[in-house]
Symmetry: C2
């Protein structure tokens, strides 16, 4: 199995956590999205038609999009299961994961911040305010869902799920960018708990072969 | 069953298509997101902690996020199934749905265009260019995936799936905003085919009780 990944991509980070939780070995294929390597003709034609990371190659089968990849891994390598089968628990896991994957992450990734800076010519202060705005808009929803349905150590239930695979990279980014997360105590508790788990440790940007300090 | 929806929200439109394909009746609860009704305390506390549309209430169970809602509907009301069980088909359906739901839609929805206009004070031309940029970035990936794995009349396989529930609202929006879609013939063919199906017709913004002409 090969994972096409960039150390600092939080969608790649989600899949690295899932692979580590399942104890699956893989070849790490670094794709430097800062250098635009994901737009290379060979990568788009042979690996990921979406021109993005992550992409998983499992034998002849190649797949993009982190949530689709984790769903695929769950079917093919079901232990431990990351998207629960029990309907109510499953619904909450997918709700929180979608909130992060659709309402938070897409607004603050590299290509969007790049567009703001190079096309719209926003100032560093405006770019920072944009980043914080969408983090806080999303985190308010995350925290409210955890208040109503969360279980404490992990987002839901008594083991890590797709929701934790999504939340931890998002919070690591927010922390790295200097967001004040004190208003989200349940989310912070899950984050701090997850960081003590070896799978989350192994998946960190700093542990990847293509890591470079900022 | 109640659906909290806004006629012009394409995430609401996805769920309306799913409900119509499954032949499920529901009460339409209009939430005017242009007027900020999704931020009302009662709505956030009692319906959707994410402060967004859509939200589904099915008896005592309330759920936000369109993809989570359609997954829930598929488990509870499995005919016809919209997220296939067969692994390779399922993976493609989720890949394309994620591409639209994570890489396209979030960048061009009302709140983001509002931020560009009122906080970053971009010109109408800059706002239009932003919109087109993300539509075309996403559509290139959609078209490439359909070229490789598509089946013709519908995105994948021989019946509508979650991928069609996501694609049709996205293309309807792009068309409404004047995007030139001629470069994406497979996507356009699926779109035009879907518009002839009664479930897609019933789910259109123009058919909703809260519709108002622009």
């Amino acid at each position: 199995m090969q994972l096409h990944s960039f150390f600092n991509s939080s969608t790649s980070y989600r899949v690295r956590i899932a692979l580590a939780l399942k104890g699956l070995d893989y070849d790490y294929r670094a794709v430097n999205i800062r250098a635009g390597d994901h737009h290379a003709t060979r990568y788009v034609e042979q690996v990921n038609p979406s021109a993005a990371v992550p992409a998983l190659q499992d034998g002849d089968f190649t797949l993009g999009q982190s949530l689709a990849i984790i769903d695929y891994l769950d079917a093919r390598y079901p232990e431990p299961r990351l998207i629960p089968a029990e309907p109510a628990l499953r619904a909450r896991v997918l709700e929180l994961s979608s909130l992060i994957a659709c309402d938070m992450h897409p607004l603050n990734n590299l290509r969007v911040l790049g567009y703001l800076q190079t096309v719209l010519m926003v100032s560093p202060e405006q770019k920072g305010a944009w980043y914080m705005h969408w983090v806080h808009e999303g985190m308010k929803g995350v925290e409210r869902i955890l208040e109503r349905h969360g279980s404490g150590a992990w987002c839901f239930g008594d083991a890590p799920t797709l929701a934790d695979c999504c939340l931890i990279p998002q919070m690591a980014n927010a922390q790295r960018m200097g967001c004040d997360l004190a208003g989200y105590p349940r989310s912070v508790a899950v984050y701090e708990h997850a960081l003590t788990h070896p799978a989350f440790e192994a998946a960190k940007p700093q542990k990847q072969p293509d890591f470079v300090a900022a």
